[in-house]
Symmetry: C2
């Protein structure tokens, strides 16, 4: 009988085909019209766990999209238990956003699988699922007990998962938690993120006249809502690139010199950032290196806005409304609820008497920092050395995993390891998202090594 | 045989039904997918002229949508000739813009006809057409020769009509030109606009990263294009409400005290402006009254903008692009070409090194001022006194009729009269555009009186 590693090698093509099936389900959690697809993806994932031999597989309701819970406790009470978290939902994507092919019909070019969710997070969580399959296929025996929690609301800020975790502490109890939903700069150098940023996302809507007006008939006496929105948004950053919200930085944990020096080792170069962004010049908060601005500093972004007419040609309308989607990435020890109140207060303060404005919270998530010295982290280092052939470096990630802070809080401060199998240039959340298939296969092997290392602790 | 006024009274319901048919054709000139509907509207108008008994009816090509030309010269060489201009194209409209009913299925509520184009300009040009029908129905005799020029590109700035007029000077030669495409504050007080504003419309597009990015992965090092656009747009007005474009006001003809005093007589009150706009407070250029800001001062408006994600929910994208539609309303003696260059130069000057920007002209139109002392203007005063029962007041209009300056230039400085039958609250260009049917019927009678007064000069 082949061991788990041999099984993985033998079934590589089959795993890829399965992943494509999962990707074809457009499980876009933020779009109400995709609710059925989100449910379909949950069922697909649950079915795959059943097929692998998991003893208990459940699709559990939350206040929103369901979670898939799968459990295999066959390693016995004395063995360690690993909790694996991931998400089956994806960001929105339409071909006209700039995709070279249908975002929900995966295609392989140059060893990369192009599709929405290929890297974030279907491809990565599926690598963990296939590692479990390989361990169980090995005579139905894995060296550790396995609990999977695969949710469907990560891309909308996991609004219901915190409550779910709090209500299911026993079910989810484990010795270590591993998450594959992050990445590394190049395939040659594995990276472990040891912190993630929090998130505060809000809608800011401005209303001027009671309806769209003729710009000739009223232009000049009405504070144009598009103009007013621009004037307010323009005041949210200071000339030095810092965020102009009173109190915004009050709780930020500053980097010390030692950590800055350590982070410098894993930092992408300017040329690497240039390659993936293509911007004419970088921008940002003065006094911090590029990787520090992303991983260790909070930011405020305009994720989009809309007002009036924006089609081809000309429509001389004076719009009645303007909407901006604004979000902040937060770092330890910022509280997303407090930041929401601060940004809201600033937006209201900046609203002139000529217009009306409204602020609505959309998503809130805490930042998290993980213990670099935990036994779990040592097992991850060993797994990468075996699965990747190289010792990982450590960095602070810029993204958000809303659930980390909840796991730490509700699961007895469980050690968490982020074993990301994505690449810096995957284009998560953008058009032409991709997942390098070599990363997928190495990821499965590394995940198996991790479980073996945890068992051997 | 009834006279033209009696004919009009007898056929009022029929005229309304015909107008509804014309309105049902969604002749939106700015949308390429509506080209066939625009042509259909031109044919509808031409057919109606043929039915009325016009001798020559032509649908003539331009570089864009065609013009309808209709001629009746039966009054003879010694009689005066009146050129009537209007447009059969309309602004875009979809129900989701805030319409209470389908914008292209006219409905009557409280004596108002609700539909796109009901007032601007189908309803008004149709009032002129029905006045001609009434005069011709009167034994096939009208007291003046009639030439109609009904175009299909007014709502996109009449890009081809100037050239058409220059190439058809003889065909269009007339003693006076009358246009019904403006309005009055209340039905009780007719108004003659004696100036119109020019227009300069452009697209301003910003590009940052080469594609949409994950706001967590790159937020903080890339100058967000939505933010950059807001920062630039916010600099286009000074704190006193004036436009911050060097040279913008250089050629503006200032109002003298006498004209200001005269204009004050026809000015809507703050309460009237408040009623139609519903804004919490007015805004605009310091030192000028509300009606002066609209009619006598140039403005810069953001007609709309778009960037990134603006749907329901949250998408943590860092957008690659941002687009704004910007227009200026111009007054005598501003040149739209020069203003385009000035605004473009300022936009480029305000573009930081962190992003790329592009400026594209969309539409240009000259402002125009008409002679208050012309004989044609005296005929219009007489027509309103008879058709409306009240002497009109005079005002400077805020809108743009791109063709006015071309008529003046190419047609031997022809006297022009703007006899608008719209109302201040019609909501032209916005949702729930309406046309008060009483205005329609009075308009037809007044247009007949105008032709009779011109004949009697």
């Amino acid at each position: 009988m082949p061991n788990a590693h041999e099984y993985t090698t033998a079934h590589g093509a089959e795993f890829e085909a399965q992943l494509k099936d999962l990707i074809r389900i457009p499980s876009i959690s933020t779009l109400p019209e995709r609710k059925t697809d989100v449910e379909k993806a949950a069922e697909w994932v649950a079915d795959d766990f059943r097929r692998m031999g998991f003893e208990k597989v459940e699709i559990l309701p939350t206040g929103g999209h369901p979670v898939v819970y799968a459990e295999w406790m066959g390693a016995g009470e004395s063995a360690r238990t690993v909790l694996i978290y991931g998400h089956y939902d994806v960001q929105p994507a339409v071909t006209t956003d700039g995709w070279d092919s249908d975002p929900f019909e995966p295609v392989v070019r140059d060893g990369k699988l192009f599709a929405r969710g290929s890297s974030d997070d279907k491809g990565q969580v599926f690598a963990q699922m296939k590692a479990a399959e390989a361990l169980l296929a090995n005579g139905g025996k894995a060296p550790v007990n396995l609990k999977f929690l695969v949710e469907g609301e990560e891309e909308i800020g996991s609004p219901h998962l915190g409550k779910f975790v709090a209500a299911n502490r026993d079910k989810l109890s484990a010795d270590v938690c591993v998450i594959s939903d992050s990445g590394m700069v190049t395939i040659d150098q594995p990276v472990i993120d040891y912190s993630t940023r929090g998130l505060m996302y809000l809608d800011f809507e401005i209303t001027g006249p009671k309806q769209d007006l003729h710009s000739g008939g009223y232009g000049g006496i009405v504070h144009n809502p598009a103009q007013a929105l621009a004037e307010i948004l323009a005041q949210l950053h200071n000339p030095d690139g810092s965020v102009n919200v009173p109190g915004f930085y009050d709780d930020v944990l500053l980097l010390d010199d030692k950590e800055r020096a350590e982070l410098q080792k894993s930092a992408p170069t300017e040329a690497e950032y240039q390659e993936t962004t293509g911007v004419p010049a970088f921008w940002g908060e003065a006094g911090y290196a590029l990787h520090e601005r992303i991983g260790a500093r909070p930011t405020l972004e305009i994720n989009g806005f809309v007002s009036g007419f924006y089609g081809a040609g000309s429509k001389t309308v004076l719009p009645a409304k303007a909407l901006a989607k604004i979000s902040c990435r937060l770092v330890a020890n910022q509280d997303p609820n407090k930041i929401f109140e601060l940004v809201k207060a600033q937006l209201i303060r900046l609203t002139p008497a000529t217009i009306r404005s409204e602020v609505r919270a959309q998503a809130l998530a805490y930042p998290a920092v993980m213990d670099l010295k935990s036994q779990a982290m040592q097992a991850a280092i060993e797994a990468y050395e075996k699965g990747w052939g190289k010792r990982p470096v450590f960095e602070r990630g810029g993204g958000t995993l809303p659930i980390l802070a909840d796991f730490q809080r509700h699961l007895n401060n469980i050690p968490i390891v982020l074993m990301g199998f994505g690449l810096f240039g995957d284009g998560a959340h953008g058009p032409n998202e991709s997942f390098t298939l070599e990363m997928f296969h190495r990821g499965i092997q590394t995940a198996i090594h991790f479980h073996e290392a945890i068992a051997a602790l």
